[in-house]
Structure formats: structure tokens, C-alpha cells
């Protein structure tokens, strides 16, 4: 079927490959502007303290310091990425709530002066008792972090679909398991940087950001400016994974400092500050109860979760809903109860990390399901096939799932991994495990309430017709959106990818888009690009019809050649037709816009988890455990993905590799640690252990064919979904190897060693 396409379904090289491989690609931190100052934030050394006084006078006197700002210099407007709870301010006003909370910012002529000035700011604190554990925080008498969250409970969710109690009564076997997750961080290798400069009443902000739209929106809200007076753009972004989605303290401060000094200001986080300021993955504490028939069919599930939110809300309400909402998608069951408490503590705030809210619950559920399968003496892969959702169904919490290839993914993964020869047959110390996952292909609703379209695109054909420029607000952060969107635009136009150029993620020059999160751009930005391309093609065919004296319906255009369908030898080039159009009518432009249909049920929180299309994935991993030391080696992994029609296979498999890699890191090594005063213990890339090339096993990445009816060419997501099965499959592989279950992430050597000893 993909044979009919000439531009999509092909592994064309990335549009930005040459710039990146030669070192010419400029990231925000690489940019310089004349007369530019350097800025830095002053962060709180205390986890919880009242601010009695801030004295900036000494800092201001230091030669080379051009401005010092605190909460007194900015509007007292509260914000948060999701409007459900706006509880942050640019700088702390009366209290600090975690080590790393933002107190002040300095701009000076160079870095050295900035650091000296930060030391000269005197803050008078009254240290308050703090709490670093979600369960402690809920106890009576625990320190209260916000007045508005009594008992430190920031979000409470109680959803109930069907009749879980009845399901449990009718079940042959009901089992409860508890699993704990840990706090992890995105750790993109590029630290966040921002540059702001003013021209008259207008500010330009370069930022390492995943959404130029949301940053523009929040800058305008919090600084009380018109959106049109703020231009936000990015150059190259060195990875995000959710960590560059929230507007950061750098963005707000750079704008204010630059206004105050009348000079460009560059601000950046060092690696440790990335840990304070990126909104990492929530640690979740997950109790699951499931009732099944004798044959292993799931009848009902109760998910009873607590999550540690850290100090502020940000996107955390959505994280809390996602945690439970998407549990219903993979396996088909009619009764579901979801209870969640999101608790605030005096640790850095958490938010969205690849797979948003969902990877830990998937880890818990996939481990839990293996426990059930073992009790029932059913093969773990078989119990998943029995329960796998079928296409064209609706989940108990109201998500419409059209294409869905989970069953096929399981079957294919079973084949390619040699599961039947390995499961239960490997020598002692070796194990194989399976886990499933998947994700939304874009969220059905924007982060804040608005009726704007989700994605807009414009294509301009250059005057001589030899190239075309796609204008999109989609944000390339490494995942390859600039490339696949150009492929999609070219396909729709009947043009060639090689002749495409792109202007993306610039609120002035490009078109509107909500940006890179919720795995949304291939489907949503792609839908807008497709529509814009189709409009260009229509105009080309109409113009060619006049020149060639036929009707437009008799013509088609592919790879930049217009031809008569009945007589493909008779052709005109796209370029000459485009030029004719330009001479007659002016610029040849196509426009596209996308908004998902109304999705979801009517219950509270029903919007979270809605999407036009859902991906599915099966991963299988094989591990080897050193029984003496507990050391785990992931020896090999297999991923089979249902991600709809694939625009660029090479980029797609690259996403799977990276997603497995991240999931593997979170399974075994990654965890942020704090001391008893809430100070970060391992805020660097040596002690916060990202896997290296030596840790990474061979990964076989394969696909099952589906074409989603709700997406351009049937595309679906891959980037986030592919990280959701990993922790479950590694957990199950370790269990298979050692016969005892480690129930809290990460599954470190030490925990495994202890589990073997205590067996």
C-alpha cells in the first residue's frame, strides 16, 4: 500500500543532519548578541523556610552587575503549566518550598561577576520544618506547604466505572500487589538556556523549549503583556523528554532582566540546576487489585495510587489523571476504579517525563499481571493475548480506540524473541520477560482551555517553484518532526522532500501549534501539513489544467511532475506550473489546520487520556543476573510496535531505541536521591546514572501494520509509547531469572542481591 507513496514511508535522511553532524547547528546557548549580559538565578538553600528579608544592595554595588531582581520587580501573578492549580510565582514571595526554589536573578557583564553577585545577596530565612515523603506529608501534624492544600493533598481523584466490587465477587481469583516507583529526570544532554532582548515594546525570547506557544502564552499571562508583543522561538534543541515543556524561571527572568538593562540577557542552567528545575517523573506508590476468571480474563481492576508531586503543581494534575486513565486502554475490562492522591512535599516539583504519568503504573500493572498469570499457571504472553483490546472498541472510561494492533504485536514479539523456547527453559540466573505499553497520539484537549486549533501549517512555494517552505509551530527537539512533516507536506503536494525547507517553532514567522508533548506532532501537526499540501496541489492541478487544456480531474502530480493520468508521458514540471501560478495570482500558498473531534466521556477528568489514536507496543527483554552480586545485564530486547503508518522508518526505530534505553535506565539505575534536609545528593551525570553504550543491549525493533482512520495516512505515535512497556518487561525478566519479585524501582543490583539472599 505504501508503494503508492513517493515521499512518506521512506527513510530519508534528516533535514537537519548536515548541520548537526558538522557542529554548525546552533543551540540557544551557542548564540551571542552584541552587548549581551549573562544572567543567573539565585536558588534557595533551604527546603522550607519563610523569607523574612532579601537584601540585594551589596550585589547591586558590585562592579559589572547591571540588574538584580526579586519578586518585588515582577507582577504578583500566579501560574503553573496546567491551569488546574496555579500556585507558582516567578520568584518566591513569602516562602521557599524546596532546595532550588527561585529567589532572585542577576544580570552582569560576565559569568564570574554573576556568581560573585549571587553570593552577595543576603536572604534572611526562618527555617521551617519540612517534609520529604508523600505518606509523612499526609499525616496529621505534618508541616503544611501550601495553605490551599490541607493535609498537603494537591489533587484527589476518585473515578468509578462499572461495578468493581461485583466483578471481584464474581472473580475466580482476586489479587492485590503493591509496587513503588522512584523519582527520575529527563536529563536531556543540552541544559536549558534562554536569551531575551527587547526592541521597543517588544521582546524576543530564544529558549530551549518544547512548545513556543505555551511559553508565549505564559510569558504574556505572568508578565501581563500582549501575546503579540512577545516573540518566542527556538533554534536547535538538544532533547526534551518533557523537561523543557514547562516555562522555566530562566525564561521569565531573562525577559525582565533584559527589559531592566536594555541589553540582551542570556541565562542558563548548569547540570545540577537542571535537576531542580526540570519537572521530572513523579514517584508513584501503586496498589493494584485485579479480579480474573479461571481462564485469565480480567473482570475488574482497582488502582489505588499515591504520587509525590514535589513542591508545585505545574502539569502535575494531568500527570495524576494520566496515571490511571490510560490503564484501561491495553486490556479490555468493564469495571474499573481509580483512586489517586497527589501530595505536595518539599522536593523539586514533578511533571511530565516521556510517557507522562504512565510508565510507572504500566510497570506495576505488567508485574502484577505476571503474578496473576503465574498463579493461574497461564503463560504471561498468553494472558496478555487473552485480554488484549480489540480495534474499534471503547474503553470503560470513554476512550474510543479505532486501530489497535496489540494482539498482533504480542504474537510477533513471541516469534522474533524465541519466547516459546526460552520462557521457563533458560538456565538459572537468566530470565525473559514481557511487558506491554502504548500511548496517546496527541492529547484530545490543549493544556489550558482554549478553542484554538491544535495545529496550523502554511506552505509557501518559492517564486520560481523550485522549492517550498513549510511553516509550522511544531517543535523539533531531536525526535525528527521537521523531517517527517516535510515528507508529509511533500507527499500531499505531489512534490519532493529534497526540495522542502522548513521554518518551525517561531511565534512570529511560523504557524501556530501547541508543540512537542503528548506524542502529538506526527498526527496533529502532520494533519495540518497534509491539508496545506493538498491545497497547494489543488492549485497546481488547476493551473496546469489551464496550461495543458484538460480538466484538473484528469491530472495528477507526483515527485514534482504534473502528468495526465491517462497519458503519463504528457507532463509539466511542478516548478513551471508553480511559476505560472505566481505570475498570474501571486504567491502560491496552501493552508492547513487541525483540531481533534470532541472526544471523551462526561466524568470529571474525562479529557485526560483522550486522543484521536492510540499506539500499542510489546517489549520482551532477556536478562542475566550475577547471583553473587545481583548485577543485571540486559542481554537482548525486542520491541514490536503498532504505530500506524510509518512516515520515516529509520527515525521511528531510532525513537524505539531511545525509548527502550530510557526505560531501561529507569528500570535498573536511575533515581534522584536527597538527603534528610532535602538537598540533592546526585545532581550530576556521574552519580545519576544514565546508561552508557556498554549497558545497552541489541534491540530488535519491528512493526505491525495498522492504519488509523483518524489520522493523516493512518499515522500514530511512537516516541513516548515505546518507553512505557520497558520497566514492566525488565521487571518480569528479572523475576523469571531469580524467582523473587523486587517491588520497588529502580531494580538495583543491591535490591536484587538482597532479594536472592532473602529468598
Amino acid at each position: 500500500m505504501s508503494d503508492n507513496y513517493t515521499q512518506i514511508g521512506k527513510s530519508v535522511p534528516r533535514i537537519d543532519a548536515l548541520e548537526k553532524v558538522t557542529g554548525r547547528a546552533m543551540y540557544t546557548g551557542d548564540l551571542k548578541f552584541p552587548n549581551m549580559l549573562v544572567g543567573k538565578l539565585l536558588l534557595s538553600p533551604h527546603a522550607h523556610a519563610r523569607i523574612k528579608n532579601i537584601d540585594t544592595s551589596e550585589a547591586e554595588k558590585l562592579p559589572g552587575v547591571k540588574a538584580v531582581i526579586t519578586h518585588k520587580d515582577v507582577p504578583p501573578i500566579k501560574y503553573g503549566l496546567s491551569p488546574a492549580r496555579w500556585d507558582e510565582t516567578i520568584f518566591c514571595v513569602d516562602k521557599v518550598r524546596f532546595v532550588g526554589d527561585k529567589i532572585a536573578a542577576v544580570a552582569a557583564v560576565d559569568e564570574e561577576t554573576v556568581y560573585k553577585a549571587l553570593k552577595l545577596i543576603k536572604v534572611d530565612y526562618e527555617v521551617l520544618p519540612a517534609v520529604f515523603d508523600a505518606f509523612e506529608a499526609m499525616k496529621e501534624g505534618a508541616p503544611q506547604i501550601f495553605e490551599e492544600y490541607p493535609g498537603n493533598i494537591n489533587t484527589e481523584i476518585n473515578q468509578n466505572f462499572g461495578d468493581v466490587d461485583k466483578a471481584f465477587k464474581e472473580a475466580y481469583y482476586v489479587r492485590t500487589d503493591r509496587f513503588d516507583g522512584q523519582r527520575t529526570y529527563q536529563c536531556p544532554i543540552e541544559p536549558h538556556a534562554t536569551i531575551a532582548y527587547w526592541e521597543g515594546p517588544r521582546v524576543t525570547v530564544y529558549s530551549s523549549i518544547q512548545s513556543v506557544h505555551y511559553l508565549q502564552y505564559y510569558l504574556s499571562k505572568v508578565l501581563d503583556m500582549k501575546m503579540g508583543d512577545i516573540r518566542v522561538l527556538k533554534t536547535y534543541v538538544g532533547g526534551g523528554f518533557g523537561g523543557k515543556l514547562d516555562p522555566s524561571g530562566l525564561d521569565f527572568s531573562a525577559v525582565v532582566l533584559s527589559k531592566k538593562t536594555g541589553r540582551p540577557v542570556k541565562m542558563f542552567f548548569d547540570r545540577e540546576e537542571m535537576f531542580f528545575n526540570n519537572r521530572g517523573r513523579h514517584a508513584q506508590f501503586m496498589e493494584l487489585t485485579t479480579g480474573v476468571t479461571k481462564e485469565g480474563k480480567i473482570l475488574g481492576v482497582h488502582a489505588n495510587f499515591v504520587m509525590d508531586g514535589g513542591a508545585y503543581t505545574g502539569l502535575g494534575v494531568a500527570s495524576a489523571y494520566y496515571a490511571g486513565a490510560l490503564l484501561t486502554v491495553l486490556y479490555d475490562f468493564d469495571n474499573y476504579k481509580f483512586d489517586m492522591l497527589r501530595v505536595v512535599t518539599n522536593l523539586p516539583p514533578c511533571g511530565a517525563q516521556r510517557g507522562h504519568g504512565q510508565p510507572q503504573p504500566r510497570y506495576a500493572f505488567e508485574s502484577h499481571l505476571d503474578n496473576i498469570a503465574e498463579h493461574l499457571k497461564i503463560d504471561p504472553l498468553e494472558i496478555r493475548i487473552i485480554n488484549a483490546r480489540k480495534p474499534g472498541t471503547v474503553t470503560v472510561n470513554g476512550f474510543k480506540v479505532d486501530s489497535y494492533g496489540l494482539k498482533e504485536a504480542l504474537e510477533k514479539a513471541r516469534e522474533i524473541s524465541g519466547w516459546r523456547d526460552k520462557k521457563g527453559k533458560l538456565p538459572s540466573g537468566q530470565g525473559i520477560g514481557v511487558g506491554n505499553g502504548g500511548f496517546v497520539s496527541g492529547a484530545g484537549y490543549p493544556i489550558y482551555r482554549t478553542d484554538l486549533p491544535h495545529s496550523v501549517a502554511t506552505i509557501k512555494v518559492t517564486d520560481d517553484g523550485t522549492s517550498a517552505i513549510l511553516y509550522t509551530g511544531a517543535v523539533e527537539i531531536g525526535q525528527g518532526s521537521d523531517t517527517v512533516l516535510c515528507q508529509m507536506a511533500a507527499e500531499a503536494m505531489g512534490y519532493r522532500y529534497e526540495n522542502m525547507k522548513i521554518v518551525a517553532a517561531d511565534t512570529d514567522l511560523a504557524a501556530h501549534d501547541f508543540g512537542a508533548y503528548a506524542s502529538r506532532q506526527t498526527l496533529m501537526s502532520g494533519a495540518a501539513a497534509k491539508q496545506a499540501g493538498e491545497e497547494v496541489k489543488k492549485l497546481i492541478l488547476e493551473t496546469a489544467a489551464e496550461i495543458m487544456d484538460v480538466s484538473p480531474a484528469e491530472l495528477d502530480c507526483k515527485e514534482g511532475i504534473v502528468f495526465i493520468k491517462a497519458n503519463p508521458e504528457t507532463t509539466k514540471t511542478f516548478a513551471e506550473v508553480a511559476r505560472t501560478y505566481f505570475v498570474k495570482n501571486g504567491q502560491l500558498i496552501g493552508r492547513g489546520s487541525y483540531r481533534p473531534p470532541k472526544l471523551g466521556g462526561a466524568h470529571k477528568g474525562s479529557a485526560v487520556g483522550t486522543s484521536p489514536a492510540y499506539s500499542a507496543a510489546t517489549q520482551i527483554a532477556e536478562v542475566q543476573i550475577d547471583q553473587e552480586t545481583g548485577e543485571v545485564e540486559v542481554k537482548e530486547a525486542w520491541d514490536v510496535h503498532d504505530c500506524g503508518f510509518v512516515v520515516n522508518p529509520a527515525l521511528l526505530h531510532g525513537q524505539v531505541h531511545g525509548a527502550f534505553y530510557m526505560g531501561m535506565g529507569e528500570s535498573i539505575w536511575e533515581e534522584v536521591l536527597f538527603d534528610q534536609n532535602g538537598k540533592l545528593l546526585n545532581g550530576n551525570l556521574a552519580e545519576y546514572r544514565l546508561p552508557t553504550a556498554l549497558d545497552m543491549p541489541p534491540v530488535a525493533s519491528e512493526l505491525v501494520d495498522t492504519v488509523d482512520p483518524n489520522a493523516p495516512w493512518g499515522v500514530k505515535e511512537v516516541g513516548e509509547g515505546a518507553t512505557t512497556p520497558t520497566m514492566g518487561c525488565i521487571s518480569n525478566a528479572i523475576y523469571d531469572a531469580i524467582g523473587v519479585r523486587v517491588k520497588n524501582l529502580p531494580l538495583t543490583y543491591e535490591k536484587i542481591w538482597r532479594a536472592i539472599k532473602e529468598k
Binding site: 553532524v21 557542529g23 532533547g239 547540570r271 531531536g478 526505530h653 531511545g658 556521574a686 552508557t692 553504550a693
Partner: protein, 164 residues
């Protein structure tokens, strides 16, 4: 190395580095790091900073052919040495075989680790033109990549091997 003392008594050093075949003479402080010398003094920003602690390898350059983390090498230590940065890998816009291989094998995602990876690979293949996969993995073990899982990077380096 010539030492210059400024009015407040702070010492500066006159250094000459050979970078990608050209000589650059600058006055630096004792604590100026090579990475900052490259990025700030001579405006070559292809060398990236991911941690400034020697942990991530994104600042990898070659010093006399050996890969070093330029964030933990002082500019004064590099005085008189031959430095190769990513800007010096392609010759007159003609990509090096390793760079071509990175492009062909989809070994680049966000690209932030790429300059350092290419230089570590370059040093390896110059020294050992036919490495095993394990040797490739060892050579880039100090270069963290958060995007690719190293799968296509290892493939790209293996593909480029034997052709240096």
C-alpha cells in the same frame, strides 16, 4: 608561557593553540577551560557543554589526536598542542566518512552529543581502523547520548570502520 599581570595583580597567560590547523593566540586566565576558550574566545560553538564536570563527553575534542573532555582541560594546559574540534573534521565542506556514516545510519537525533561522538569515533578509528563492536562501545562509553540508545551510533561507527 608569557605571564601578564593586570592592575589588580591577577595573572593572565599568553597561550597559542593550534586548532584545526590554525594558530590562535589569546590571553587567558589560569582557570579558563579549553571548552570556554573554544566557545567564547574563538567562537567555535560546535563543541558542546552538557555538564562541565567531565561526565557527559559532549565537549570531547582531540588533543594531539587523543580524545579529551575539554571542560576539564585548562586552556593553559592546551598551550602549544594540536586541537581538533568538530569544525575541523569535515574538509572544505566534504564530510568525513564517519560523519557520512552518522547521517546514513540515522545516528543523529537532537544532535547535542553528535560532535563529541564523532570525535571519539575519529580517535578510535585512527588508532584502530578495524575495531570490534565491543571496542566501539568502550570508545564511546564516556559520551552520553540521551536520544538514540547508541544503537545507530555504534552501527554508524562500525560501518565507517576500515575506511579511514
Amino acid at each position: 608561557m608569557q605571564v601578564i599581570v593586570d592592575k589588580s595583580g591577577v595573572k593572565r597567560y599568553l597561550v597559542t593553540l593550534n586548532i584545526n590547523g590554525d594558530s590562535y593566540t589569546r590571553v587567558v586566565r589560569a582557570n579558563t577551560m579549553l571548552v570556554n576558550f573554544l566557545r567564547e574566545e574563538i567562537n567555535m560553538t560546535g563543541t558542546k557543554k552538557g555538564c562541565e564536570l567531565g561526565d557527559c563527553g559532549s565537549c570531547t575534542v582531540l588533543m594531539d589526536g587523543k580524545p579529551v573532555n575539554s571542560c576539564i582541560v585548562l586552556a593553559v594546559e592546551a598551550d602549544g598542542h594540536q586541537i581538533t574540534t568538530i569544525e575541523g573534521v569535515a574538509q572544505n565542506d566534504k564530510l568525513d566518512r564517519i560523519q557520512e556514516s552518522f547521517v546514513e545510519n540515522a545516528a543523529i537525533q537532537c544532535g547535542y552529543c553528535t560532535p563529541g561522538m564523532v570525535l571519539s569515533a575519529k580517535a578510535l578509528l585512527t588508532e584502530n581502523p578495524h575495531p570490534t563492536e565491543q571496542e566501539v562501545r568502550e570508545a564511546i562509553a564516556g559520551n552520553l547520548c540521551r536520544c538514540t540508545g547508541y544503537v545507530n551510533i555504534v552501527k554508524a561507527i562500525m560501518d565507517a570502520s576500515g575506511e579511514q
